[in-house]
């Protein structure tokens, strides 16, 4: 076997990649629409993020191997072991999220869930642009939700910065292009990974339908 013969391996399925890049765009859109005061677009963008989150959680349980939480959420010992190899040269790239990156995904998803949830209950100072679930909380609590909504955005930004820095680190220090992997779904690896399965497209459709239903109910203010 030749030492550095790498093979192109399919790692990320289309739904996972689509969710990833849509979130990138929509977090930007959400920020920008608030900047320019288009709160109607801000809500639409937020609803889209909500749908993507519901789908991603569904996919994290029922999706393909690399998308599943059970495949990439590891205990502290696995994380510590991985961290020790992080700066060592010549480490074989792992198929899918590494133990440290896995937690970054969980943290970003959690921050986004907080972001959207706080937005849904947020009351703005004029009381006209409030979230669709704000009718279930008092004015004061709704204003607090708006404050948390602002706070969690800063947390989200910090996590995104960390995530991007990590990707740059892999690109520069380890010469691994994770960006193209998330675009094409394929990555060069030393060997064909075992045990990577992908979920059938029909299942993605089911997840999308579930996401659409949740968004619909939330938009209607929780009334069916």
């Amino acid at each position: 076997m030749k030492a550095d013969a790498k093979i192109r391996v399919r790692l990320w399925d289309a739904p996972t990649r689509l969710v990833h890049w849509s979130l990138v765009v929509l977090v930007g859109v959400s920020w920008w629409t608030h900047e320019i005061g288009r709160m109607d677009w801000h809500r639409w963008s937020g609803y889209a993020v909500l749908g993507l989150l519901v789908f991603r959680l569904f996919w994290g349980v029922f999706g393909g191997t690399t998308a599943r939480f059970s495949s990439f959420v590891k205990g502290p010992r696995a994380v510590a072991a991985y961290v020790r190899t992080l700066f060592a040269p010549g480490q074989a790239a792992l198929p899918g999220h590494n133990p440290l990156g896995g937690w970054a995904i969980v943290a970003m998803l959690a921050a986004l869930i907080c972001q959207v949830t706080f937005g849904l209950f947020a009351v703005d100072v004029d009381g006209i642009e409030s979230g669709p679930l704000s009718q279930y909380v008092s004015f004061d609590l709704g204003r607090s939700f708006a404050e948390w909504h602002e706070l969690s955005f800063n947390v989200l930004l910090a996590l995104i910065a960390l995530h991007v820095l990590a990707v740059v680190f892999y690109l520069v220090a380890k010469r691994e292009n994770l960006v193209s992997a998330m675009v094409t779904g394929r990555r060069l690896l030393d060997s064909e990974p075992k045990d990577i399965r992908f979920a059938p497209p029909g299942l993605a459709l089911l997840g999308a339908a579930l996401a659409a239903a949740v968004v619909w109910i939330v938009m209607k203010g929780g009334r069916l």
Partner: protein, 152 residues
């Protein structure tokens, strides 16, 4: 309704404290003003929440609209000179309120006019008249905030 009482109490507190010399009292004036605006916000939210329901409670809309219309007349006394950022107290009121007094007075007037119409629409109980007037009133809240309130 509750919002109305809070608003009235706050308005009274502002009026009383505005009478005495400011300085030490500025913080109290500001606090009472913010309480008053909070009550405005709560009353306005009540109306908006009711309008989202299939079967809005006209009584709740009416009392909240009344409270807002009443506050629209008392708010003129909420901004005694010295109760701005220069007081050192925590306030979102911009200095422009006093340097651009004519513009601020116009914003207060515009708000009062729309709030009065809202009170009348609510009194009539006609949802078709209330809905657009809620929007028109909200625009005068936002219009004043954009110019004279620090974004927090």
């Amino acid at each position: 309704m509750k919002a109305g009482w809070v608003g009235a109490a706050a308005a009274l507190a502002v009026t009383l404290t505005a009478g005495v010399a400011l300085g030490q009292g500025a913080a109290d004036v500001i606090k009472a003003r913010q309480q008053g605006y909070k009550a405005q916000g709560a009353a306005f939210k009540t109306i908006n929440d009711e309008l989202k329901k299939k079967d809005p409670n006209i009584g709740a809309i009416r009392s909240s609209a009344k409270a807002i219309a009443e506050t629209a007349t008392t708010q003129y006394r909420w901004f005694p000179r010295g109760s701005g950022p220069e007081s050192g107290a925590k306030t979102a009121a911009k200095a422009e309120i006093w340097t651009d007094a004519a513009g601020f007075a116009a914003a207060q007037k515009a708000f009062q006019a729309e709030a009065q119409k809202l009170g009348q629409a609510a009194a009539s109980g006609d949802l078709k008249a209330i809905r657009p007037q809620v929007g028109a009133t909200g625009k005068t809240c936002a219009g004043c905030h954009n110019k004279y309130r620090v974004k927090t």
